[in-house]
Structure formats: structure tokens, C-alpha cells
Symmetry: C2
Subunit: 258 residues, 2 copies
């Protein structure tokens, strides 16, 4: 992968480039998918005064946040995952910008659940930066017999959600996070190849909407390859540990340049 | 302040040195107090495999942590403050060391409250690194007529607590965090000079026990001097915002070298 194809203009170590690429290849995703998805993206994000940053997704984003602690920049409302790590850091680093940070992830959500609450929980907040991590429940609930959405429906629904967001908020910068699993806990061989197809679908959505792409699966694959047990990053294979969330926050920061 | 008097061997910008010193001076604490408190400290901390890191203190450390989510390295049990920021980062950075991170801060605690629960909530956890932030309630509750401990009692009780910990756990590295307030919210002129005397008392405890010293008051003073409103860091003057917690985590990391 050429440095020039990266989504952000920020310095990223060549080691990470190499690992990201190796991780993507190891995970069975064509390297071209990752490269293409980022090559179309606009450069890294620059925040302006008064900007709102919104984290959206499922339980990984929710991370036990308080529903009663409303308002922006409230630690209790951030949960214990990557949003509080990123939000706290952004508010410290951009202390002159009066940023507003929200977490609106909800445990158990799939793409259709986001659609159903998108006006209140996204558009009405008028985000300047919108980060979305969605997809693991779309397959998990299907495997459990509680949902029947296909990979195609996931991709089409996700694409429509992002496109309609861009129509409503033309200047929003969208960050699409790669759905990921670790090979432990609830994750069996039967999740594949469908899970990889869903990751590729998310990458397609990022590419077609020129969104930034955060390669979480490649990142975790590289971390496991380097010698850490999968369960260190996510005990049940789905929900990250504290270390897993910190690794996500680090990669998100590198990709967005924030 | 000479570079050689710093508590840690890690690189710290000369700008931070300058600000820390200026902040300490501005806050009415003799520069010698800060310099002396760190000159006696041992070098920065190096973690070993299996080490336990324990955060102790009052509501600032507690930060709404779940009492039901027991065990080490549990995000829900970390609260939404500096312990989750630091703990997540440490577990990511030291993934090969099987660290155990605990938060045992309890809202409303003063030095005597720590004493009363020290065996269960500190010694029995056998920490390798023990970080303590205590003192604001010792003056706040006194001002509210609910407590009558003097500055001298604060210093003596705190010193005894740390000395007894070092006797029980000779190899523990203790990190003493400077109590701090922001000049807004609940903080009036009437808090001074007693609050400064209590900060000096904590510095004395750090110096006499050769503990690492994290200059939170100097840090916040410098941040306010640089142009950010006090309420940005702590709306009520006592409990840090997300940005405030992130600033604390940053300074803690620099001092400890972790």
C-alpha cells in the first residue's frame, strides 16, 4: 500500500502500514479492498470551533453508558469503551474549540435499528464528525435465529443510511469502522466466510461514500499475529477488553488524524 | 528546576517543566517544595509481568465506577475518569505483562476513610504501583461542618498511611497525586490559604516517603493561565470534566514514565 493512498495525511509508522496490509491479507480480504476503500477518501479531519463528534453503533460503542446522563461531554454518558478514550482526548487536545462529543451507541443494534432512530440520534445532533461501527449483531442475531437479514441487505441498508446522512448533512465527515471479531469465545468457524463478506460490505460502503475507513479487523489480526491471545483483546470474541478499546482508539486517531 | 531533579527518567518538555514551576509559584507554593518533593524520589516506574496497578482516592478517582463489576481490568469498574484512561492505555501498551488494574476510589472519602478500608482495598490487592489522590474532602467536609480534621491531622494521617503501606509492601511504588481545585463552582476565596497548606502537606508526604509526585494543581493552573476557563477542566471546581481527566492522565503518564 502506498503512503499516498492512506486516508489521512498524518504520519503512520510503516510498521502499521505493513501490519494493516498483512492483517487484511491474513483475514482473507483482498488487499485491494482496503487500499481502494481508503484511496477514495478525503484527507484527514480538521476540527472547527463548535464541532460535534458523534459515536454511533452497537454494544461495542455503547459500552455501558448511562442513559440518564444527557448532554455533551459527559463522562457517565460515554460508557467505558473507545468513545470515552477518544472523547476525553479530543476535548483535551482541542480545548480552544468548544467541541461537543456524544455517544449514541445502543447495545444489540443492527443497521435497521440505526435507521429507526437516525433522526433523533444522529441528524438532530448535527454532527461534524460521525463515527459508525455496526455489523456484528447483523450476523450474530441471524445466527441465533432472531433476524433474517442477508449480507446484501446489510450492505444496501448501511449504504442507504450513509448516503441519506450525507444528503441531510453535506459537510459531515463520516468515519466507518470495520466490524471485527476475535477468534475466541462466541466466535466459531461457522461465522465464516459470512463475517468476512460483511466486513467487505462495510468496506464497500466506505469506498462508495468516500468515508474514512478504520481497519479494526486488520488491526486485531495483526495484534494476535504478534503474539497476544485473542481473548486479551475481547474475551467473548465480540466485546473488547479495556486493552482492546485502547487499541481501537489508537487506530481511530491515526486514521482520522485527530 | 533542574532536569536531574525530576521524579522520572522520561523525556518531559522543558515547556512543561517551566509551566509546572510557574504554576507552582503562582499557586503560592514555594518552588523548593515541588523541587524537593521530586528530588528525593526514585526514578520512573518499570512494570514487571503480573504487576498490579491500583488507583485509590475519592470521587475524582471513583468517577461513577460500578461496584458490582468486580475483578481486575473491567471497564465498568473503572468509572469514567483518569483511571479508565490510564488503565486502558497501560493494558494496551504492556500487553505482554498480564497486568491487573483496579480502581478502588470511593466518593466522599477522606484520609481516615482510606485508613478504615486500607487492608481490604489496598494491602490485600498487593499492588506493585499504588496511585493515591486524596484531600479535597478533608477540607470540603470540614468547611461544611461535617468534619473537624486539621491540616496537621491530614498530613500526619496521610504520612502514616503511606509509611504503613511501605512497611507492608516494601517493593510497592507509590504515586502521590496533588490535590487540586479550579477557581470556579464551589470554590471560593475562603478555601485559601488552607487548601494550599493541604497541598503542601501532600507534597511533604511525597517527599518524606520518596514517592512519585504528580503536580495536578500546577498542571491545571498552567492550563488556565494558557487561556482555558477553569470550568472547562472542572465545572464545579472539584470534579474534572472529560478534558480534565485526560489532562490528568497525560501528566500522570509523564511523571511515572509509564
Amino acid at each position: 500500500m502506498e503512503r499516498s493512498t492512506r486516508p489521512s495525511g498524518t504520519p503512520v509508522t510503516s510498521e502499521l502500514d505493513r501490519r494493516t496490509l498483512l492483517g487484511a491479507m491474513a483475514a482473507g480480504v483482498a488487499a485491494a479492498t482496503v487500499a481502494e476503500s481508503v484511496s477514495g477518501a478525503e484527507p484527514s479531519i480538521e476540527l472547527k470551533s463548535g464541532d460535534t463528534i458523534l459515536f454511533q453503533g452497537d454494544s461495542i460503542t455503547d459500552a455501558g453508558r448511562s442513559r440518564n446522563a444527557g448532554g455533551a461531554n459527559n463522562g457517565r454518558a460515554m460508557g467505558s469503551g473507545y468513545p470515552i478514550l477518544l472523547g476525553s482526548q479530543l476535548l483535551k487536545d482541542h480545548r480552544d474549540k468548544a467541541l461537543k462529543v456524544f455517544n449514541r451507541g445502543i447495545s444489540g443494534n443492527k443497521v435497521p435499528d440505526l435507521e429507526a432512530r437516525w433522526k433523533a440520534d444522529c441528524l438532530d445532533l448535527n454532527p461534524s464528525v460521525l463515527s459508525i461501527l455496526i455489523g456484528v449483531n447483523d450476523i450474530w442475531h441471524k445466527r441465533a435465529g432472531r433476524y433474517d437479514g442477508t449480507v446484501k441487505q446489510y450492505e444496501e441498508g448501511f449504504l442507504k443510511l450513509v448516503q441519506s446522512t450525507l444528503e441531510a448533512l453535506p459537510s459531515v465527515r463520516i468515519v466507518i469502522c470495520e466490524p471485527f471479531v476475535l477468534r475466541c469465545g462466541a466466535i466459531t468457524d461457522e461465522w465464516f466466510p459470512e463475517f468476512d463478506e460483511r466486513r467487505a460490505a462495510a468496506a464497500t460502503v466506505a469506498r462508495e461514500t468516500k468515508s474514512l475507513w478504520v481497519p479494526f479487523q486488520s488491526m486485531f489480526d495483526a495484534a494476535v499475529k504478534a503474539g497476544t491471545e485473542p481473548a486479551y483483546w475481547a474475551g467473548d470474541g465480540v466485546h473488547p477488553s479495556m486493552a482492546g478499546h485502547a487499541l481501537m482508539a489508537e487506530t481511530w486517531t491515526k486514521v482520522t488524524g485527530l
